[in-house]
Amino acid sequence: MEYLTLFISAVIVNNFVLTRFLGLCVFFGVSKNVNASFGMGMAVTAVMTISSILAWLVYNFVLLKFNLTFLTTVVFVLLIASTVQLLEMVIKKHVPTLYNMWGIYLMLIAVNCVVLGVPLLNVESNFTFAKSIVHAMGAGVGFGVAIVLMASLREKLRLADVPKALDGLGVAFILAGMLALSFLGFSGMISL
């Protein structure tokens, strides 16, 4: 149950994009069509889960042990960037169908706030191994939900008569604001 609330909290109530502003570059960059967004959401979920696992292991068994927590940033970012790069190469070679589905989005998230942010938050909140995984997956799914919604809204707006100055990015931000406003309805639903 605890895990479930943690998961739901990360997906809806404390959505990473809409309340913590992580992963915005990708959120605004790739949310132009629904299919790409869906792929992106899956890719983020997968990468985030994997990197959270690795980061947790490294942090608890190396950095914490030798009292080197100030190296967290360096090690994590290197770890994630390399893992993603590796993952991309492996998938591209061996599972091309999967690669076409969401592998192409991998490079985009090698260096990305949300993918680095979640492992850092896990560490900061002293989550257990299992909790870290659940949290990371929740964050990924939450990201996916937000970006797919955003993409569908933007697809609709593409056909609208948006003022020229706001067209594109400006209105995307305003949309995100309204999306966040709507998600406020979930606030207070789960308190951890």
């Binding site: 990708v26 960059g29 792929g39 080197l68 070679k93 985009l108």
Partner: protein, 286 residues
């Protein structure tokens, strides 16, 4: 001191491990791709920002190389220089080798050209053209709904109050987009140093053309007679200038002097006075 040593050890080991893994993987999992893609990708900033609308720089590189419709200037952080380099690599740069400018081959303004009916409907030339060829009696003239204006990627066209588009020579790049969207083929690209231009597209017989529009080319051939270089022919009741001859041989064109309808004119840079820039299709009553 011990901490410092530990730091160094951890960092070096991390570096070594990832270095080896990456280098190894790079060889082991190499996938054959179009080398051009890599060249292009190399030029890109690799911010992986996705601002181009593709999933990262690699994806954009792939798209711009493989898909002819993907423009080379989509990279936002890279801006000009990157666009240029990508364009060069993919051979997509070239906005026309020969400098040219869009030319409206119609002088059938609201006053000059007769209307056939009152059009009510979508304000778009191609849409209006579907209804008996548009609201003008002349089947060949500019309809004046500004489809070209709306489609110009450089904002070089504006609709004048008289119902004809104005081409801003400063802004026109000669890309030819307007030429393709005009349902009447009124717009043609003119060499930038053209000396004269025929401002009519009517293939009607002289009498009919005249009845429909006071500025029509009647195909009378006076200009042809007045051209000392044989650069003009009459084709389907319309004077056609061979610009190769005209530009190369003629210094002082006189062909247009005798034209009864002023359908052929000397090209002056600011031939059209810039009217109020409002998007007015004067001949259209909603």
């Amino acid at each position: 001191m011990e901490t410092a040593l530990m730091v160094l050890a951890v960092m070096v080991i991390t570096g070594l491990v990832f270095g080896i893994v990456l280098a190894y993987a790079n060889k082991k999992f190499a996938v054959e791709v179009n080398p051009l893609i890599h060249l292009v990708e190399d030029v890109l900033p690799k911010g992986q920002c996705g601002a181009c609308g593709f999933a990262g720089c690699m994806a954009y590189a792939e798209a711009v190389v493989l898909d002819a419709n993907v423009a080379p200037n989509l990279c936002v952080p890279g801006k000009g220089p990157v666009a240029e380099a990508v364009g060069k690599l993919t051979g997509k740069s070239a906005p026309a080798i020969e400098p040219r400018i869009a030319h409206i081959r119609c002088a059938g303004s609201v006053e000059n050209a007769k209307a056939k009916y009152q059009y009510v409907g979508v304000q778009d030339c191609a849409a209006a053209n579907l209804l008996q060829g548009g609201q003008k009696s002349c089947q060949y003239g500019c309809l004046g709904f500004g489809t070209c204006v709306n489609n110009c990627p450089f904002g070089a066209l504006t609709m004048q109050p008289n119902g004809l588009p104005y081409v801003d020579p400063e802004k026109c790049t000669g890309c030819g987009k307007c030429e393709t969207v005009c349902p009447k083929n009124v717009i043609k690209m003119l060499p930038i140093d053209a000396k004269v231009s025929v401002n009519c597209n009517s293939k009607d017989r002289g009498a009919v053309a005249k009845k429909n529009c006071s500025a029509a080319c009647l195909g009378c051939g006076l200009c042809k007679k007045n051209c000392s270089h044989d650069a003009i022919i009459i084709e389907n009741g319309l004077a056609v200038v061979d610009y190769k001859i005209c530009i190369a041989e003629c210094d002082n064109p006189t062909c247009f002097a005798k034209c009864p309808t002023k359908a052929i004119e000397a090209v002056v840079k600011d031939r059209y006075p810039m009217g109020s820039a409002a998007n007015v299709a004067g001949n259209v009553a909603m």
